[in-house]
């Protein structure tokens, strides 16, 4: 009886919203609801199926405001998503707010160095819009259609983090009661988005890693970076991760790289593959042990983006060679990389030449199972050994065991993201991997002070979570926003 009442209420709410924002923006047909019923990591049977009551496709900020006000009034949960939401859990019977139609690049400010975008803007769209402006943006290791905002808010890995912790400068937020505000300097009339916070506290931080639970973002300003007179990718090979970290840290301490990435050999060989290589290169990788690279294949490759005036870059290149030698590594010339790892070079050229991302076809091998943490440089070295050791226990069945690692904020913290690719249908194995990852997060936190990139349960964060819950209750008293998306324990506050 109660369920029927709820269902009727939702039908009324759906109709009401259609009248408010336009029928074409609200869909409640069965196919739409089902195709939005399991959006986490693709249609993954490991995750619960939660069918929304309807899906909203806002085209303006006002559409978002109307949707939230209505949802708040009817107390219907709302999950805000973009084109490739792969970390969110959704809510049964809730509303999905799919912001893909809000995909305008509103402003590219080449004076201050930021771009103002709508939430549905993808990396492909922004990187394209930036061509010819003399500016580039950070690109992640997610597919080009993934949203810039989604990546920025979840603080995933991306290029140009060497000098920054966060790409977000300013956010426009809508609260469930319909309040709209900006977190940064654009909150003042006629002021742009150049300043993330001040003279008031940094509210953008409240929305970073909040997975939509604190408000719905309707506009964002993100950092963009100048394309210099010269830029070059420098490659160095290392036999172990510890040397690679020392190399990266040394370069950063001497203000050399615009950006650096450390890759294990499974990753640098398989990530940039073209579809046609999947039958040739991939089988060899699948049969190998990641700890034992073939003779002459460096265990780690470090890609370093050097940029500036040409004279500057020439000198930087020499310094890289010097530091690589100091750290027991060796320079891999472009010719050598092209000859031995052509796909790798093509991938990097695309990422650092055109500044857009090469689609990761290695995902077609299996379902992504990733484990990611941040740690201080000396600790991340231990974390790498620990993580590789634990993942290889699952055997070759989860190959390629791919990881990459890169510094944030001048190397104060390093990210390590390691992933295997188990058979999507092998739910039992994947559950085992999931359980193992939880154990690994616990151990890495205790032993190495490694901070997980995603929430791992509120009981570990004590009073931090208490404060966060209080804020959440104030901003979203009916707990409608991204209720099951992962910030808090599922369902209730």
């Amino acid at each position: 009886m109660l369920a029927k009442k709820e269902s009727n209420e939702k039908e009324v709410a759906c109709q009401e919203l259609r009248e408010a924002i336009g029928a074409e923006k609200v869909r409640d047909d069965e196919i739409t609801r089902v195709t939005y019923g399991r959006i986490r990591h693709g249609f993954d049977r490991m995750w619960p199926f939660r069918k929304p009551c309807f899906v909203v496709f806002p085209e303006t900020r006002e559409d978002v405001v109307e949707t939230l006000k209505l949802a708040n009034r009817y107390k219907i949960p709302v999950t805000s998503v973009g084109t490739a939401a792969i970390v969110l859990g959704t809510t049964e019977g809730g509303i999905i707010l799919d912001q893909r139609r809000r995909d305008k690049v509103i402003e590219i400010n080449t004076d201050s160095g930021y771009a103002v975008i709508e939430p549905g803007v993808s990396f492909d769209k922004l990187t394209s819009a930036l061509r010819g402006t003399g500016y580039k943006c950070s690109v992640g290791t997610m597919p080009g259609p993934g949203t810039v905002l989604g990546q920025g808010l979840s603080r995933g890995s991306q290029s140009f983090t060497t000098r920054y912790l966060n790409v977000i400068l300013d956010l426009e937020v809508v609260l469930p009661n319909g309040t709209v505000f900006s977190t940064g300097s654009s909150h003042f009339e006629n002021v742009g988005s150049h300043l993330r916070y001040g003279p008031y506290p940094d509210l953008a931080g409240l929305y970073t890693c909040a997975y939509g639970a604190m408000g719905v973002i309707t506009k964002a300003a993100i950092r963009i970076h100048p394309v210099n007179e010269a830029s070059r990718i420098h490659f160095a090979g290392f036999d172990n991760y510890s040397d690679a970290v020392d190399y990266v840290k040394d370069l950063i301490n001497n203000n050399i790289p615009e950006h650096t990435f450390i890759w294990d050999w499974h990753m640098y060989l398989s990530w940039p593959l073209a579809s046609s290589d999947m039958d040739t290169v991939m089988p060899k990788i699948l049969e190998s042990d990641v700890r034992e690279p073939p003779e002459g294949t460096p265990y780690n490759m470090v890609s370093t983006l050097l940029s500036g005036y040409k004279e500057q870059v020439d000198v930087y290149e020499k310094i890289c060679a010097k530091v690589a030698k100091k750290c027991h590594g060796s320079v891999l010339s472009d010719e050598e990389v092209e000859k031995r790892f052509p796909a790798t070079l093509a991938g990097f050229n695309q990422q650092y030449g055109d500044f857009h991302y090469r689609e990761a076809v290695h995902w077609s091998k299996g379902r992504f199972a990733g484990w990611y943490v941040f740690a201080e440089p000396k600790d991340i070295k231990e974390v790498e050994k620990f993580a590789v050791n634990e993942l290889t226990k699952f055997g070759k069945t989860i190959n390629p065991i791919s990881y990459y690692s890169h510094p944030f904020d001048f190397g104060r913290s390093f990210l390590l993201r390691i992933a295997g690719f188990p058979d999507p249908d092998d739910i039992e194995l994947r559950m085992k991997i999931g359980k193992k990852f939880d154990e690994m997060y616990d151990l890495a936190l205790k032993r190495y002070g490694a901070v997980p990139i995603r929430p791992i349960g509120s009981d570990r964060a004590g009073t931090y979570m208490q404060v966060l819950r209080s804020i959440k209750k104030t901003l979203d008293p009916n707990n409608i926003l991204n209720r099951d998306a992962g910030l808090f324990e599922e369902g209730e506050l």
């Binding site: 074409e24 869909r27 047909d29 069965e30 196919i31 739409t32 089902v34 195709t35 939005y36 019923g37 399991r38 959006i39 990591h41 693709g42 249609f43 993954d44 049977r45 199926f49 069918k51 899906v55 496709f57 084109t83 490739a84 939401a85 792969i86 799919d98 893909r100 139609r101 993808s122 492909d124 769209k125 990187t127 394209s128 061509r131 597919p143 080009g144 259609p145 993934g146 593959l273 073209a274 579809s275 999947m278 039958d279 055109d354 857009h356 689609e359 990761a360 076809v361 290695h362 995902w363 077609s364 091998k365 379902r367 999507p424 249908d425």
Partner: protein
């Protein structure tokens, strides 16, 4: 795809989708919208990935087959943009086209008796009644060039697209002008491409087998096709559904025309200057990778200036003709109108294409006074040689 393939067989491939809509737009940096249904109503459900998720949901018993499922499945325009742009599904072994998975969904709908009202139902009823969807071909080669000994064979059976008959007549006259000996294949019957596209697979296998038996004695000759759908189907799909099929040399008629100009067998006459735009048909372009020949033909015509539409070659936008489902109202017409809008933006006088379905679809949405502005490449060549 083998005709014995089931939804279960494609589950692993479908589950690789990351739901990122990469299947809906063309190459970077243009990122032009290419998938008609997604362009019309941007939503994950209306993308290649949405169809894959629907298949997975069916297998997971989260949704049932009903009439709306058939309408949804038949609403995809089969333009192949998804398969051209998603690298992820293409990289999975064994490779299955996204479009083939959508066709499988249609096949399952038809098997369960769900067929959209309108053109799809008409095809279904005809196929059910006749066991075929073909018409008696009126294609007759002129005696001057018709020769059983010829090394080239006209694959002349397609006659169920509206404008196909008039195009075929033009083709015959041009073949006569070119003067090379040619022979002819098939008297009646659909090659199977329509049956394959729309899930009428029960009748397809015997039909394709019968065709192949007739083609076999000529398999060492070069087959010339007028309709890219037939060519793509015979060249790319017969090998999948006929175990003893062996590759045949093949050319689209636009390639024959391009060769004829190069060999001096066709000569352009000056009929004044005109601007034309060329619409790449999905199956000639993305299906067979034939982009240059039609443009070479246009370049051979004196006074004809080609003005490209914004979306062209592999990034061409579909005409909408093969959209037979009713899930999204007016999708076929709106798709064609969108393409016409793009054509109008070029200020060209004529819209040239090389597929009877495209020509018919564009003419359907144009006012009577403008219908003559759409021509098949062969028709333009006949007028100007």
């Amino acid at each position: 795809m083998k005709l014995t393939t089931t939804l279960e067989d494609v589950q692993a491939t479908a589950s690789r989708c990351l739901r990122d809509a990469r299947c809906t737009y063309g190459s970077w940096p243009e990122n032009q919208p290419l998938c008609p249904i997604y362009w019309h109503d941007p939503s994950f459900s209306f993308s290649g990935g949405g169809y894959l998720f629907t298949v997975l949901a069916l297998l997971d018993n989260k949704i049932d087959f009903d009439q709306s499922m058939a309408d949804y499945a038949f609403s995809c325009s089969s333009c192949r943009a998804c398969d051209s742009n998603c690298s992820l599904i293409r990289s999975h072994t064994p490779y299955v086209d996204i479009l083939d998975i959508i066709r499988l969904l249609r096949r399952e709908a038809v098997k369960r008796g769900f067929v959209p009202e309108g053109p799809a139902m008409k095809i279904y009823e005809k196929v059910k009644g006749n066991g075929d969807y073909g018409e008696v071909s009126e294609f007759k080669l002129p005696p001057g060039i018709s020769s059983d000994e010829a090394e080239t064979v006209m694959f002349a059976e397609c006659s169920h697209a509206g404008p196909q008959k008039e195009i075929s007549e033009v083709v015959v006259r041009l073949l006569e002008k070119i003067g090379n000996p040619v022979t002819q294949f098939a008297e009646k019957g659909c090659c199977g491409s329509t049956l394959y596209d729309f899930g009428f697979w029960e009748q397809l296998e015997p039909l394709a087998k019968a065709h192949w038996e007739t083609m076999k004695p000529m398999k060492d000759k070069t087959f010339i096709f007028i309709n890219p759908h037939c060519q793509e189907f015979v060249v790319n799909r017969y090998p999948e559904i006929l175990p003893d099929f062996s590759t045949v040399d093949n050319q689209h008629f636009s390639q024959v025309l391009a060769d004829a100009f190069k060999d001096g067998k066709l000569k352009s006459k000056n009929k004044g200057t005109i601007k034309v735009s060329y619409h790449d048909p999905c199956y000639l372009g993305r299906g067979l990778q034939i982009y240059d020949a039609p443009r070479e033909v246009l370049a051979s015509l004196e006074g004809v200036e080609l003005v490209e539409m914004e979306r062209n070659r592999e990034n061409s936008f579909c005409c909408g003709a093969r959209t037979l489902g009713n899930y999204v109202p007016n999708l076929a017409e709106d798709t064609a109108k969108e393409r016409i809008k793009e054509f109008e933006a070029t200020s060209a006088d004529l819209l040239i294409t090389a597929c009877a379905y495209c020509k018919g679809m564009f003419q359907q949405v144009l006012p009577d006074k403008d219908k003559d502005r759409v021509k098949d490449l062969a028709e333009l060549v006949e007028e100007r040689t």
